[in-house]
């Protein structure tokens, strides 16, 4: 299978070529992330239902984004019993490395309806520049 430009550009990000990952179930750290990229920025979304913004801690250093958070278990009183207990609770830490450095002063994070959306602008110095080619 041929590698597209897209695969080659993001190879360091995925850790290995995309074609080798197909059909292989990778280990995903909690919580699962979805990541979108452009030349200008990266957007990360993750589902954290039941958390409040103050339960989430986000830090960005260079290319690495680190997310920490805690969801407490429900209070369990006397005379109450669980019929089902499928929802997760506890603490998590997850780091992800992006393919470019981030302008960490301009990072924004929005938490709504249990979904965290982090917008990470690419460092100004690293943005691709269009160079004009002149004919003499």
């Amino acid at each position: 299978m041929l590698l597209t430009e897209f695969d080659r550009f993001f190879e360091p990000f995925w850790g290995m070529p995309r074609y080798r990952q197909r059909g292989v179930r990778r280990r995903i750290d909690f919580p699962p992330f979805n990541v979108w990229l452009s030349d200008e920025k990266a957007v990360i979304t993750t589902e954290l239902p039941g958390l409040n913004p103050e339960d989430i801690e986000l830090s960005v250093i260079g290319k690495v984004v680190t997310l920490k958070g805690t969801r407490k278990a429900d209070d369990f009183k006397n005379g109450e019993s669980y019929h089902r207990r499928e929802r997760w609770h506890g603490s998590f830490t997850k780091s992800i490395e992006l393919p470019f450095n981030i302008e960490n002063q301009k990072v924004t994070a929005n938490f709504a309806k249990g979904i965290l959306k982090i917008t990470l602008p690419r460092a100004e110095a690293e943005k691709p520049k269009k160079i004009e080619i002149r004919s003499e």
């Binding site: 179930r25 280990r27 992330f33 990266a42 589902e47 429900d74 109450e80 249990g114």
Partner: protein
């Protein structure tokens, strides 16, 4: 947190045999906690992406169905790079017993978590049977 990757995957809801969906979006089964309290049953469901306007709760005979519609947040000029979770609607059904007071069922959504309170009917609350000696 020591969860295996399998447990992290959202589970897709199944349709009854022969029934097809008309919308192409995926439908997931939300994780729930069901707690029995003295006077009520509480159903808590993780439904990230839903709010009070997009969750429907219906009760038909003994079947309580929750359906949450999720509008996917599409990035404008962005290319997808990593997908660790799928986005779609949520659906799950439960059968409820006769002891639930149907008129007083209420529900709220906060930060993508749906909480349904199912109060027990007065008659079902406590049915203590006295044992007498002869």
């Amino acid at each position: 947190m020591s969860e295996s990757s399998q447990e992290l995957q959202k589970k897709e809801a199944e349709t009854p045999a022969g029934v097809e969906r008309t919308r192409s979006e995926k439908v997931y089964i939300p994780a729930v906690d069901i707690i029995e309290k003295k006077d009520e049953m509480v159903v808590i469901a993780d439904m990230a992406g839903c709010d009070e306007n997009t969750v429907d709760i219906t009760l038909e005979k003994n079947l309580l169905t929750i359906y949450g519609k999720v509008v996917p947040d599409k990035g404008d000029d962005l290319q997808p790079a990593l997908f660790e979770y799928g986005t779609g609607d949520y659906q799950r059904s439960f059968t409820i017993s006769e002891e639930i007071d149907r008129e007083r069922i209420n529900a709220k959504v906060k930060n993508g978590v749906l909480t349904i309170i199912l109060p027990k009917a007065a008659a079902a609350k406590s049915r203590k049977i006295a044992v007498v000696s002869e």
